[in-house]
C-alpha cells in the first residue's frame, strides 16, 4: 500500500484533516499529520482492519533548532498482519511544544513519551506519569536539544541533613503505615 492509498483510506476515517506525504529513501511511507489530529489518526490506523497498525515500534523526536517549526515527533508504526511500516511525523513549534499522549492507545507509549519529555522537553498532554525517565529528577534543561551545550559543569547540589525529633519520626512511621494499609 503506497502513501496515496493510505491517505485516501485515512481520509474516510478522519475527515477534514490535511495529510502530507513525503518521499523517503528507506522506502517507508512517511506522512505528516497536524498535531491536533494525531490521536484520531493513530486510532484509525490501529483499529481499521485494512490497516491494523497494531505495533508502536518507536516514538522519538528530532530538534531542528534554529529553524521553525523546531521539533518533529516521529512515530514508527508496524502492521504485522499486512506487513506494512509507516512513519508518522508531527511538526511542533518551539513556543507550543505540546502534543496529546498516546498512552491511552498503547501502554508502551508511556516510557517512550517520558523519554522524549526528559530529553527534548516536549509536553505530552494527559500523560499519567509525566516525570523524567533517564536523567535525574532535579535536572535542569533538556539534553538532546540542539541549544543545550555538549559539555557543561554543574555545581553539585547538597542538602542539609534532615533533622527529625523522635516524636516526628514516630508520627511519620505511623502516617506511612496508615496510607499503605
Amino acid at each position: 500500500m503506497d502513501a496515496a492509498a493510505l491517505i485516501a483510506s485515512l481520509q474516510d476515517a478522519v475527515p477534514g484533516v490535511q495529510f502530507e506525504s513525503v518521499p523517503s529513501v528507506d522506502l517507508q511511507t512517511t506522512i505528516y499529520v497536524p498535531a491536533d489530529a494525531v490521536v484520531a489518526t493513530v486510532r484509525a490506523l490501529r483499529d481499521r482492519s485494512d490497516l491494523a497498525f497494531t505495533l508502536l515500534a518507536e516514538l522519538t523526536a528530532v530538534d531542528f533548532w534554529p529553524t521553525e517549526p523546531r521539533f518533529e515527533v516521529v512515530y514508527i508504526l508496524v502492521s504485522p498482519t499486512n506487513r506494512l511500516r509507516l512513519r508518522l511525523k508531527v511538526r511542533l513549534h518551539a513556543e507550543s511544544a505540546r502534543i496529546a499522549t498516546l498512552t491511552g492507545l498503547w501502554p508502551a507509549a508511556n516510557w517512550l513519551e517520558r523519554e522524549v519529555w526528559d530529553l527534548f522537553g516536549i509536553v505530552f498532554e494527559g500523560h499519567p506519569d509525566p516525570r523524567r525517565l533517564l536523567m535525574p529528577e532535579d535536572w535542569d534543561g533538556f539534553p538532546l536539544r540542539k541549544d543545550y551545550p555538549v559539555q557543561i559543569r554543574k555545581t553539585p547540589i547538597t542538602n542539609e541533613p534532615l533533622q527529625v525529633t523522635a516524636e516526628q519520626f514516630r508520627e511519620n512511621v505511623e502516617r506511612d503505615r496508615l496510607t499503605r494499609s
Binding site: V25, D26, E58, V62, V78, A108, N110, W111, L144
Partner: protein
C-alpha cells in the same frame, strides 16, 4: 481478640543486585511473599550516547553504538551501517552482505548463550553458566581473530567491513558450528526436562499475545507468547529471504516458553550460519568500491601519493551524507532493532536514535511480576533478557 492486621512491606531491589543484570532498581511492595506492586527505576547507566553521536563523524559513531547493547555489539553496528548506507544510496557487494549476516547470526548465538548461562545460574543451574561461557569463548575468539577485540570489534563499517576476513576464519567458524550442535543438546539435557527448572519457570511471568503487542514487545518474548513477528521474515534485509530457516514460536508466554524459543533460535541461527558459510568465498571484495567512503588498502597508502591523500581525507574530514532520514529495522537478539538517523548533509549525524528493545521489555516488567512471588522476580528479570546499556543508552 484484637484484629490481626497485616502490613505490606516495601523492598528496594537493586540497583546493586547480582541478578538485575546491571543497574536496574525495582521498588517492590510485598504482601508476604506476593508482589503487590513494582516500580522500576532506570537511568543509572545513562551516558548520553545519542548526544555524543551528534558530535562524531559518521564512521566514528560505530564504536559508540556497539557499546549501547553490549551483548549484541555487531548487530547494533550493522543496523547503524545499513541505515547510513540507505541514506548514501550505497549497494554493498554480495560477499559483504553474506559476511554481515553470518556475523549477526553468530552474535545472536553469543547473546543467547550469555542469556542462557546467567538465567540458568539465577534459577540454580550453575553448571549451565560454566558450559555456556565455555562455548561463548569460542565466539569471542572468532571476534578477536576478525578485529583484535573480543567484545566490541567495530568490524562493520559504513560501506562494508574494516578489512578482509582473516586467514583461518572459515575453519574457526566451522569448528565452532560442529561443536555447538551437540553441546546445545547437552544444555537441553540439563534443563528442558529438569523437574526443578520446570517448577521454577512454567506458568511464571506470563504475558498474553495481545499484551505483548500492546507493550511493543518483540523478539523472543513476543514469540514465546505466540506473536510470530520476526523482521527477518516480515521485512527481509541482507537477503534473509534467500535463506531457509524457521521462526520458532510458543504459545504459553511464560519463562519456560521464552527459554524454549531462545534455544530453538540458536539452532536456527546455526543452520543459517552453515548456509552463509557456503556462500562466502575466502577472498573477495570486503567493502564498496567508492573512494569517498572506503579508505585505500594500506600497501597503496604507503606507496602512492593519491592513496595517501585519500586516506588522509577520509580519516580527517570523513564523508558527507545527503540530507534526509532513514530507519532500517533488523532483528537483533532482543527483537526489532534499528537506528533512526537524520542527516543535515554534513559529515556528522544530526540525530541518531536507537530503538531499544530492552527499554520496552523493562517497561513491561511490572505486568510480568505483579501478583507473582518474590522468588520468581529473579527468574522473570532473567527471562526478558534486558541489557541495561540498551535501556539507558
Amino acid at each position: 481478640m484484637p484484629d490481626i492486621r497485616t502490613e505490606t512491606m516495601t523492598v528496594n531491589m537493586g540497583p546493586q543486585h547480582p541478578s538485575t543484570h546491571g543497574v536496574l532498581r525495582l521498588v517492590l511492595e510485598l504482601d508476604g511473599e506476593t508482589v503487590r506492586s513494582c516500580a522500576p527505576t532506570i537511568g543509572y547507566l545513562h551516558t548520553g550516547i545519542e548526544k555524543t553521536c551528534e558530535q562524531k563523524k559518521w564512521q566514528q559513531v560505530i564504536p559508540l553504538v556497539e557499546r549501547m547493547d553490549y551483548l549484541s555489539a555487531q548487530s547494533n553496528s550493522m543496523a547503524f551501517c545499513l541505515s547510513v548506507e540507505r541514506l548514501l544510496g550505497l549497494e554493498v557487494p554480495e560477499r559483504v552482505t553474506n559476511i554481515r549476516l553470518l556475523i549477526a547470526e553468530l552474535q545472536r548465538i553469543n547473546s543467547h548463550l550469555v542469556w542462557l548461562g546467567t538465567h540458568g545460574m539465577e534459577v540454580g543451574a550453575v553448571s549451565v553458566m560454566l558450559y555456556c561461557f565455555r562455548e561463548r569463548e569460542l565466539l569471542l575468539n572468532i571476534n578477536e581473530m576478525l578485529a583484535g577485540f573480543r567484545l566490541f570489534p567495530s568490524y562493520m563499517r559504513v560501506g562494508g567491513l574494516r578489512e578482509d576476513l582473516p586467514r583461518g576464519f572459515h575453519a574457526a567458524v566451522t569448528a565452532f558450528l560442529d561443536r555447538f550442535g551437540p553441546k546445545l543438546d547437552e544444555y537441553e539435557d540439563l534443563l528442558t526436562a529438569n523437574e526443578i527448572y520446570l517448577k521454577r519457570t512454567q506458568g511464571v511471568g506470563v504475558i498474553s499475545k495481545e499484551d505483548a503487542l500492546a507493550c511493543s514487545l518483540v523478539g523472543p518474548i513476543a514469540r514465546a507468547a505466540g506473536v510470530d513477528y520476526d523482521v527477518r521474515k516480515y521485512f527481509p534485509y541482507l537477503g534473509y529471504d534467500t535463506y531457509e530457516f524457521a521462526v520458532p514460536t510458543e504459545t504459553a508466554g511464560d519463562v519456560y516458553a521464552r527459554y524454549k524459543v531462545r534455544v530453538a533460535e540458536m539452532r536456527e541461527s546455526a543452520k543459517i550460519c552453515r548456509q552463509a558459510m557456503k556462500r562466502i568465498p575466502p577472498t573477495g571484495a570486503y567493502a564498496v568500491d567508492d573512494p569517498r567512503i572506503t579508505p585505500p588498502p594500506k600497501d597503496r597508502v604507503y606507496t602512492e601519493m593519491e592513496a595517501l591523500i585519500q586516506h588522509f581525507l577520509i580519516y580527517s574530514q570523513g564523508f558527507t551524507v545527503p540530507r534526509g532520514e532513514a530507519y532500517v529495522p533488523v532483528e537483533g537478539p532482543r527483537g526489532e532493532q534499528g537506528y533512526y538517523i537524520v542527516s543535515d548533509g554534513t559529515n556528522r549525524p544530526w540525530r541518531v536514535k536507537s530503538r531499544a528493545p530492552s527499554l520496552l521489555a523493562c517497561q513491561a516488567l511490572e505486568r510480568l511480576i505483579v501478583g507473582g512471588l518474590i522468588a520468581d522476580v529473579i527468574a522473570v528479570i532473567g527471562s526478558i533478557d534486558v541489557v541495561m546499556g540498551d535501556v539507558d543508552r
